[in-house]
Amino acid sequence: MEGYVVDAVPGRGFVELVLDGFRRIRVRTTFPVYVVTDNPELIAQHPSVSSYEGEEWRDLSGEPLTVYRFELTNLGAYGYISRRAEVVNKVPTVLSQTLFRLNALPFRRVVVEGQRIRLEGKERLARPKVKVAKVETYDWYGPSPDGDRYLAEVDGETERGFLRDLDLWADVVECSGRACDRVRASVKVDSSRKRSPVSIWGLVEWSYVSMTPLREIAYSTIGKTLTTNEAWVAFRRKVVIPDVVPRVEKRRTLEEVRAADKGGLVLFPKPGCYDGVAQVDFSSMYPSLIIKYNISAETVDACEDLKTEIGHSICLEERGIVPAALEWLVERRRELRGVDEERSQAIKWILVASFGYLGYRNSKFGKIEAYELVTYFARKTLRRAMEVAREEGLEVIHGIVDSLFVRGGDLDEFARRVEEETGMKLSVEKYDWVVMGSTAGGRPHPMRYYGRKEGGEVKTKGVERGNMPNLVRGFLREFALSLSKARDCSEAREVLRGECREILGAYERKAFTGEPLDYVLWIGGEPYVRGVRGFYNARSGYRGRDPYYYLGYLRRTWENLWP
């Protein structure tokens, strides 16, 4: 039998592989559990232990350690043992470790011959040939677990209809509310329990890269996927992964902490419209810095191969666990770009979290000094890029952590020099014009800007927020569309005074005459409408709106659009 591994269900002495098309096959196996103990014989007395073996591993600081691997016939005994003994290597999960040994990794094509499994590893970038669907139920205000209508996306096709008519099967389905009861799938993911920002194909990709069954990561945070990736590196190196890693911060003076514990560099641009601007982005800046400088908990302050001004040093003797884990993720994201944007985005989320997770208290492979080093190198890199820009005669308009807005001068030479000097890849995006936004008080707003890219598309940042009423969001979308006609700042000004004002007028009228859906705004996952007596939950039904609230909102938004 051959096919893609969609799921795996552990049993007594076997694991049942669920392949695409609901096919199942049992493979005999035991489940490995790693324990640090002085008395392995005692644990071996558990009826589910079939055998055990001592292995030489290392702890995170590199000290040798004897770890016993117990082979369990029943995964149910894992809980019993982990409560009574010091179980290590809990990540990757036991099931993932089992599948790894069997060559039956999630969403990879396998050939099962008797009790042997062969991995067919030729299609690295193509989507696994499994049927993946997403079904959402809708009410008048938008997605709702109690809605009567559904919207389904199956293999890129969209279906709509009444829930009573829904008849859908797929290998993997993301569903919400009552729709979950009406679909048939090997793995169902309940949207309301999801804690990750990625789509269902994104979750499939996470399952693929972390070599963990989808069922085990469907409701976990990005952190778990990232940690699993790092843990695989440690696992292959035979480095023991403890459950909790106590960390002791270096003793420093208050001034030293103040100097080191900072974020990325953010400039405050002068509000206004600028013609002929280029946005120069460092691609995956933080992960790239982690990789370039070998930043990982075990490499920071381990030796003094690379000293820094903030008092931390980095050891370059051995590749760190975090950079090793990120290296292939950065590479995979680069490969997926342009091939599959959805899965590329899923990898991007892991990379985005990788830096923050270094400083997270429960991170197994991070520590605060490593986190501080990343922001230190990021500030240093951006400052150097600004110096090069000035040397090449470019005007720096704005800078946000990993991105610079520049104009004039020799852009190509600037990009070439920055790449050469920093050793990092740049992506350059040219704009016909860019508006740097301001706050309501007229002060610069570093995170609010919009502009027309070469090609005509208007990109906005920090202008539209998720908690704005649909009415305002609709206005902003039309606003951006009409501005896409302007080729420079003076034309943008004209469009703003003419067409955009007309759009505003139309939306101002809509504040009084709109559909109920126009007045909905989402806060904390709940739909609200502003009525004359204040906000009320839209789930309880539509009970009118306060048009003056929406009118005021529109006008405030409009006033902040042009500094």
């Binding site: 106590p246 003076t253 103040r258």
Partner: protein, 190 residues
């Protein structure tokens, strides 16, 4: 400098006690109070427990200027419960200020054990209601324990436990924390 609160009566009660705990349910008052203690006692080692924040460097510098004490403040932060005990043990200084050691409400015995195991003096500031939560933890280890209570424009330092004194309380104005000895212009406003 030796650990001190700068309030003569309180310092007299504390004397040379090794482990002294101040607790309060009022985070703002407790924070002001330990900033004062750190500013007065510098050079001093500080263990800060919590995910973020806890020490206002500007306030600390301001208080240090007020008290004309430019001594260094050495810092170690413990972000999770399991970090607290090893961090306290790692502090080399003779005198240590520990801020909010029971922040995570777990690992009490390891934390108390680490504090007891150190040589030298320690001032501990706990943001907790000892009457309701963790009331017995560390009580036997601390030589003296004070409760800080907010009283509007002032506050009370209540002696809860001391090997030498009975129950006693001292009242101070909030402005005294900042090193002022009268209310200043405020007296004309109220």
């Amino acid at each position: 400098m030796a650990l001190m609160t700068g309030f003569q009566e309180v310092d007299e009660v504390i004397g040379s006690d090794g482990l002294v705990e101040f607790y309060s349910t009022d985070g703002e008052l407790l924070s002001l109070f330990y900033h004062r203690v750190i500013a007065l006692s510098a050079p001093v080692d500080v263990v800060l427990v919590g995910e973020r924040g806890g020490l206002d460097s500007l306030l600390l510098r301001r208080l240090q200027r007020t008290f004309r004490n430019r001594g260094e403040v050495y810092l170690r932060r413990a972000f999770k419960a399991e970090d607290v005990a090893p961090t306290i043990r790692a502090m080399e200084g003779e005198e240590v200020v520990v801020v909010d050691p029971y922040h995570h409400f777990k690992g009490y015995s390891q934390i108390v054990g680490a504090m007891r195991g150190r040589e030298g003096r320690e001032f501990v500031f706990s943001l907790m209601d000892r009457e309701r939560r963790g009331s017995v933890f560390g009580l036997h280890s601390a030589h003296s324990i004070f409760k800080l209570e907010d009283r509007g424009r002032g506050f009370k330092v209540k002696l809860i436990k001391s090997p030498t004194r009975g129950e006693v309380e001292f009242s101070y104005g909030k402005w005294e924390i900042y090193g002022r000895y009268e209310r200043g212009l405020l007296r004309w406003i109220h």
